[in-house]
Point group: C2
Chain length 240, copies 2
């Protein structure tokens, strides 16, 4: 017995690679993206009344985490990466069926000709992610604020002192002010939830990290207590 699903849409995201993506949705409201609905599902009737909901569930495929074999236990980053829990007690992308679930803010439903695009906020989704279903978020059954949560009772992250180096400020200064401000806030938020591997966190060694956001490569340095955004560079597609 098996079941075959087809994508109903595809995600366009500020997150162009896995490193740096928040590990749950909603943690970074500034993380925006679009869900482009694929034919034959791009029928306006299929989205009537969707805008009366502020949030959506997105069921998607962990397309960059598909493996031939599954493993019964995982080491969640939240536990420092050295304690094992059951794969079903985690939201790890490496699971028997590579199905992901995120609740996102619905900012708008846009129709242009044959195209239907949902504007989303608070995403934790990689660019190119195939989406297999969307459902409205219904607070009277979905919101259980008092649910008991084992090893992850609180959101990750804490405010950090982040300095932008002159090169990074120079790149931001070349962007339209609104885009620069949005990128600055997004970077601040991503670094606050600290995408570093758990085993780097208590290290005193200076290290450099990088990730791609929209069409920019960003680089930062963590040195004991200080975090510096060292570079923001336009991403160059490698010649094929």
């Amino acid at each position: 017995m098996s079941f075959t699903f087809e994508p109903i849409g595809i995600i366009h995201s500020c997150f162009k690679e896995k490193f740096g993506i928040p590990r749950q949705s909603g943690l970074i409201p500034e993380a925006e993206g679009q869900l482009e609905i694929l034919p034959p599902y791009n029928r306006p009737e299929a989205f009537v009344e969707l805008q009366s909901y502020s949030h959506l569930w997105i069921s998607f495929i962990f397309h960059q985490a598909m493996r031939d074999a599954w493993r019964p236990s995982v080491r969640p980053p939240r536990l420092g990466g050295n304690r094992r829990v059951g794969v079903f007690a985690s939201r790890s992308p490496f699971r028997p069926n590579p199905l992901g679930l995120s609740v996102v803010e619905l900012q708008g439903v846009e129709q242009q000709g044959e195209q239907i695009v949902l504007q989303l906020g608070g995403i934790d989704l990689l660019d190119g992610t195939p989406v297999v279903d969307i459902k409205p978020y219904v607070p009277y059954c979905d919101a259980i604020p008092g649910a008991r949560s084992g090893f992850a009772p609180e959101p990750p992250g804490a405010p950090i002192e982040l300095t932008f180096a002159p090169q990074a400020e120079a790149t931001l200064a070349q962007l339209p002010p609104q885009q620069a401000e949005q990128l600055r806030r997004l970077i601040q938020r991503i670094l606050e939830i600290d995408p570093r591997p758990a085993y780097h966190r208590n290290s005193v060694k200076r290290r450099d990290y990088g990730m791609r956001l929209y069409d920019f490569n960003i680089r930062w340095r963590v040195d004991a207590e200080t975090v510096t955004l060292t570079r923001i560079e336009a991403f160059q597609e490698e010649p094929v």
Copy 2:
């Protein structure tokens, strides 16, 4: 591009047929069931720490609602069954990918030899439902009590005056007291959320309804303002 999923488990439910099932999970805490984990996923390591969570997300297949064709709009029972909304603005089982999503209470994880069974409460799942994934409910990202909910802002249902006819009382009296009490409460709750088709609700006509719960057929009558549980009978499997 398509993705194939295999069931990791199967639901054993008090709900043996579609009619009468609450239309969202959590509405009837007394609705209990089991998730039996199928091989090769019945590995104890895969469930380590799951019991530190009180609630689970279950991604399942609407196995009795699979259709060859999808339709872009549906008529939700909550809207009286005569107003159309987009299929993606609904949780209708009839959707492009027949994927369901329910949050349920996790009452226990039981292991007996090779078997692993999760005890669940507040289910809205049909007996025999194939489950493709389970994930812990994480309140800091999943609970959004203030989310805006369009046409279904409040849970359905209202207290009703329910009378048990002598035949129904006689059947209950033959059961162990705890089972009888549980069945009585479950019936009361199911009738409070009113499984009748929307177009019957404002009718003054007396009508009889029936559904199967556990191994009982139950029958009830709605007559203007009164609801009577007329019969509770042991379900007899039809001879093959």
